[in-house]
Symmetry: C2
Subunit: 217 residues, 2 copies
Amino acid sequence: MTQLILLSGGLDSSVALGTASEPRIALSVNYGQRHRASELKAAERMAALYEVEHYVLDLTSWGALLPGGSLTDGGVEVPDGMYDAPSMAITVVPNRNATLLMAAVGVAQAHGIDTVVTAVHAGDHTIYADCRPDFIKAARTTAKLATEGAVDISAPFIKMSKGDIAKLGFKHGVPLYATWSCYKGGAIQCGTCGTCTERREAFSDAGISDPTPYLVP
Amino acid sequence: MTQLILLSGGLDSSVALGTASEPRIALSVNYGQRHRASELKAAERMAALYEVEHYVLDLTSWGALLPGGSLTDGGVEVPDGMYDAPSMAITVVPNRNATLLMAAVGVAQAHGIDTVVTAVHAGDHTIYADCRPDFIKAARTTAKLATEGAVDISAPFIKMSKGDIAKLGFKHGVPLYATWSCYKGGAIQCGTCGTCTERREAFSDAGISDPTPYLVP
């Protein structure tokens, strides 16, 4: 099994890379997300650390056709609060995972890689429909049919919590502190947006001290 | 039902646009395909004729990560011959339809459009796995799960031949002569590549005279 890892530079996908058996390519995506600068820098560092080829796919043209969401529309604020609160629906990027997965499957096939790894996990399911097990199952079928079985999708964390992932990463020596979660795109992570809240909770659940500097400690 | 039409500017998708009940957006894609200039110009004319909003999605960064195919790799020639010959496999763009469909589903959802229309047809099935009915079925499931039922995919020509499509378009007054099929990207269509061969056969099967100027008449 050879792997292409969809690597955002966040905690989950960094652990996916750090625990993959035969990673060949890390693929990051710039879709104009507000926090792209910090996120892509973290991804680049992580790919370099694990010595895999790193590509950044430019989907800014796609992001520009998605008005109304807080990650791709500069006029819409990123909300603070719990990551599974209804208010977080504004952070949904329409059909993001399917689009990124299918683009990644094409890149994998062109490079003779047989598996695309996505780091979606159980905690994502409440708000993000495209992180649920039935979605992943349908996406796998789609990929396998389109590539005549050449490329499959793997979601190793689909039943794990973010705390479980942090624990796994810690055990494997993944430098969790060097990952980027915050949606707001400031110079340091805010500590209060949905994804920062979730990150802090994950460290706490895993019983690991969190060395991340936050704007609001 | 409101529709987003994936519009290449070729015969099939132009007929899909010209026969759609409530088309709102025509979405064309530049993935660095060799024939993009002529293809996108044809798409623009067609969208203007049918008075739908026209967007060109720039996926050149994706195409650049797909080495080895004759449409996206300048070093690989477009073959002449029958469109369903094994030699045409070199014109396959890895996972193109899934990638384009999923990107389009996101755009549709962001714009409150409930259906993405793709013009894949029965004649495409031999070479292109991502034009087959089981693929379309899986892609529909994927899209519906990811958007919680907000967006479906429609493939109205899935059981039709290209000749049937030409006949349908002719009946509806779609200006078939103004569509672009040729993969080679010259100033006029070559008349000998797989897709030109298929186009000429479609006019002939439909019993319609073909006013397209070809390099090889």
